[in-house]
């Protein structure tokens, strides 16, 4: 029977004379797999339900996330720790579906030219990120990341934040009216806090209204949405001090001799359950 279909003047030959039937059958062929793969996830799967205690990005973090997208960070950094021992040791606990529920778009990435960032929140002090963006080789000798000095000089414009949050609410992020209306003020308040901490860590002044602050806010939140909010307490106090000494150039003790002392390394064992 199959042979009757494909032989030289078989049924398929007849089909070749009917372009519109042929097109319909092609469409059916490609829609079958599409429907079978998507239907469960869109209709019945509950992996998209965020845990009740899960936080949503603050307005400033959304602004930072959009900067992350603008600069194309996702082209070189993944945000998806796979459930392998070597990845958990290197980056932290593996990523779950629920904690990506507020990611529109997802930023999992497909290439690790640089390390994974899914759990980078709280790993380094704010000032480390500021220095790293300004000149990656100042904090990470040998890095091939581009410099992003303009992030420290360009003013962050929050004018369209309400529109952005409104669009995000439409796609399912739980923002209330008050947050949307006061988005700019909320963002500025959080930016002021971060900028003050940067100054306290010995960093440059006047970063509160610059793009870098939004990006730092976002990076420090990565991997922590399902936990009590950030983040600096992930580092032991002496680790912060050591890092800051390196960053600010004031080194009271012995000068560091190896990269390992300059670079605050990820915790060796994940401290999350």
């Amino acid at each position: 029977m199959f042979n009757r279909f494909i032989k030289a003047n078989g049924r398929h030959r007849t089909l070749e004379g009917w372009p519109f039937v042929f097109t319909a059958l092609t469409a059916l062929a490609i829609l079958t797999g599409t429907v079978v793969e998507f239907a469960p996830l869109f209709l019945v799967d509950d992996s998209m339900t965020p845990p009740p205690e899960m936080a949503v990005w603050t307005p400033l973090e959304i602004a930072g996330r959009d900067l992350y997208i603008r600069e194309g960070c996702n082209n070189c950094h993944s945000q998806m720790v796979r459930p392998f021992r070597q990845e958990i040791e290197r980056y932290g606990d593996y990523s779950t579906a629920a904690e990506t529920a507020y990611e529109s778009p997802h930023l999992w990435g497909s290439k690790r030219t640089g390390p994974d960032l899914a759990r980078v929140g709280g790993k380094y002090p704010h000032l480390w990120h500021v220095r790293h963006m300004e000149d990656p080789r100042s904090t990470s000798p040998g890095s091939i990341m581009p410099d992003y000095p303009w992030l420290l000089t360009r003013r962050m414009d929050h004018a369209d934040l309400p529109a952005r949050l409104r669009a995000l609410r439409t796609v399912g992020l739980p923002y209330d009216d008050a947050t949307i209306q006061n988005a700019a003020a909320l963002a500025e308040a959080q930016a002021a806090e971060i900028a003050a901490e940067v100054v306290a860590q010995g960093g440059p002044d006047r970063l509160a209204d610059k793009e870098i602050t939004a990006l730092v806010a976002y990076l420090q939140r990565l991997g922590t949405l399902t936990e009590p909010p950030p983040a600096e307490d992930d580092l032991e106090p002496h680790e912060i001090d050591e890092t800051l000494e390196t960053l600010t150039g004031t080194q009271p003790g012995e000068p560091p001799t190896t990269d390992e002392e300059i670079l605050p390394l990820p915790p060796e064992t994940p401290d999350r359950p």
Binding site: I6, A8, R13, E16, G17, W18, P19, F20, V21, F22, T23, T26, A27, A29, I30, L31, T34, E37, F38, L41, S47, M48, D66, I69, E71, G72, N74, S78, M80, R82, Q86, E89, R90, T96, A97, A101, S104, P105, H106, S110, K111, T113, G114, P115, R137, S140, P141, S143, I144, P146, W150, D160, A163, R164, A167, L168, V171, G172, D259, L263
Partner: protein, 500 residues
């Protein structure tokens, strides 16, 4: 039904009346020139990216950093270079396979200029940082709308031509064009659904896991239906033409067409092995990816075996040489793809340069060389002038082939090296290379080798540009479309060798 042309059921006449008409080759010439021009631009950006990786000082200012240029490179090469190439192939071969001029000259021009405008818009917005971040779909929503409009016009033009055809049966190349046009429309609409927050910003309606699955359903099938099916159609038309041999097997073409079209669409989730997508989805994607190996090789076999008894022609035909190396790379890449989708392999290869090697053996080997072969075959026919220098074309073949080999060998080395270093433990059970930087410094020399290989391949394109330019300079002024006379009724059954 519209496709049952009344003529087809009319009683056969001994001497059918002749229809005289002209093919629209002017639009094919435009698409060929655009292919060459954008190919050069896209690959030049690729070479700059290849330089930026080992030499970060080559990241210039805010607009020309790696993160902003990488989507420009992928979009330019996929949608501008390969896109214009497949449009050239479709507009040239569809008219001949249907024995009909394109349905609408106006639509053909709208398609050409609309597509070029979209490319220009991409080249402006991506360096400005206007991007959705979704791979191979980075263009923001106003450009997505424009793509939809142009694609619909293209589809109407194409199906209108099918409707007006003078050949009863559709040759296999046309099947692949149909699959391309239908599926790209579905993929583009499905993946680009977004809520705008302004003119140049939007958020996808999908979140997290859903967004990832939709993205790789799109991303993988952009490879399938933008870089594979139209190029198989191209192969089925231009390879038998250049070899002057009928296609190896009609039955194989039926079996591999339908299995390819049915199976490809399932394979997307293999890009998400071991991520937070449900495991059943990733496993399903892996299983179908492995199944995909066979229909893919059906195409390779049908292509290579078409040359049975004609292999000696490779000695004198650079076109055939390029087709053979292109189809060979297709075979290697479609073996490698299923292999990479297997979870144990993917655990090592994912996130590394191995993927970069894989896509470039497909893009440079298969898409690139099929395109170049087609151009070297088309240019003398479209401009009515023999190719300026077959020897230069031969040099293009060799410099390009060696360039690809350098490129992919460097990336295999770097990908496997880094993948192994990331997972290495010492005897006490601690990471052997806890500092990511160590693994990067290890592979940095390979980035220089890749730059050399990529630059050689780009050099081959420069040779193509010189050759085409010199041919065009000596082309006759009168390039008016040739008049064709065909029987008003197709009296003979369609042959397996394209008739034109």
């Amino acid at each position: 039904m519209a496709d049952l042309a009344p003529a087809a059921t009319a009683p056969p006449r001994p001497r059918p009346a002749l229809d005289v008409f002209r093919y629209d080759d002017a639009v094919v010439r435009l698409f060929v020139l655009a292919t060459i021009g954008w190919g050069f631009v896209g690959m030049l950006v690729g070479a700059l990216l290849a330089l930026q990786l080992p030499f970060p000082e080559a990241n210039l200012g805010p607009y020309l950093t790696f993160g902003r240029l990488r989507p420009l490179h992928t979009n330019a090469v996929i949608f501008a270079f390969a896109g214009n190439a497949i449009f050239a192939a479709i507009y040239y071969s569809t008219q001949r396979l249907c024995k009909a001029r394109m349905f609408s000259d106006w639509m053909s021009r709208f398609h050409f200029w609309g597509w070029q405008a979209i490319i220009v818009a991409a080249a402006i917005t991506l360096p400005l940082g206007i991007t959705t971040s979704k791979e191979y779909a980075e263009l923001e929503w106003p450009i997505d709308v424009a793509i939809t409009v142009v694609w619909v016009v293209f589809a109407v033009n194409f199906f209108g031509t099918l409707w007006r055809r003078r050949e009863k049966h559709m040759y296999v190349a046309l099947w692949f064009y149909i699959a391309t046009i239908v599926t790209v429309a579905v993929l583009h609409l499905g993946n680009s659904m977004a809520i705008p927050s302004g003119l140049w910003n939007s958020y996808p309606i999908y979140r997290g896991v859903q967004d990832a699955l939709v993205q790789w359903w799109y991303g993988h099938n952009a490879v399938a239906f933008f870089l594979t099916t139209p190029f198989l159609g191209l192969m089925y038309y231009f390879l038998p033409k250049a070899a002057e041999r009928p296609v190896f097997s009609y039955r194989l073409s039926i079996i591999h067409f339908w299995s390819l079209v049915f199976i490809y669409i399932w394979a997307g989730p293999h890009h998400l092995n071991y991520t937070a997508v449900p495991e059943w989805a990733a496993t399903l994607g892996m299983v179908f990816s492995v199944m995909l190996w066979m229909p893919s090789w059906g195409g390779m076999i049908n292509g290579l075996f078409t040359l049975r008894g004609a292999w000696h022609k490779l000695c004198e035909s650079v076109v055939l040489k390029m087709f053979v190396i292109g189809i060979t790379f297709y075979g290697m890449a479609t073996f490698e793809g299923p292999m990479l989708s297997v979870k144990t392999v993917n655990a090592l290869s994912h996130y590394t340069d191995w993927n970069i090697a894989h896509v470039h053996s497909g893009a440079l080997g298969w898409n690139g060389f099929m395109t170049f072969g087609m151009i070297y075959w088309l240019v003398p026919r479209l401009w009515k002038r023999p190719l300026w220098s077959p020897r230069l074309a031969n040099a293009h073949f060799w410099i390009g082939t060696i360039g690809i080999l350098l490129y992919v060998l460097a990336m295999y080395t770097s990908g496997i090296t880094q993948g192994l270093m990331w997972r290495a433990f010492d005897e006490t059970g601690r990471l052997l290379y806890p500092d990511f930087m160590e693994t990067l410094l290890q592979i940095r020399p390979m980035y220089w080798v890749r730059l050399i290989g990529g630059t050689m391949y780009l050099g081959g394109v420069v040779l193509l540009m010189v050759n085409v330019w010199q041919t065009l300079r000596h082309a006759p002024r009168d390039l008016s479309d040739p008049a064709v006379a065909v029987p008003a009724v197709s009296a003979t059954p369609a042959k397996q060798i394209p008739v034109a």
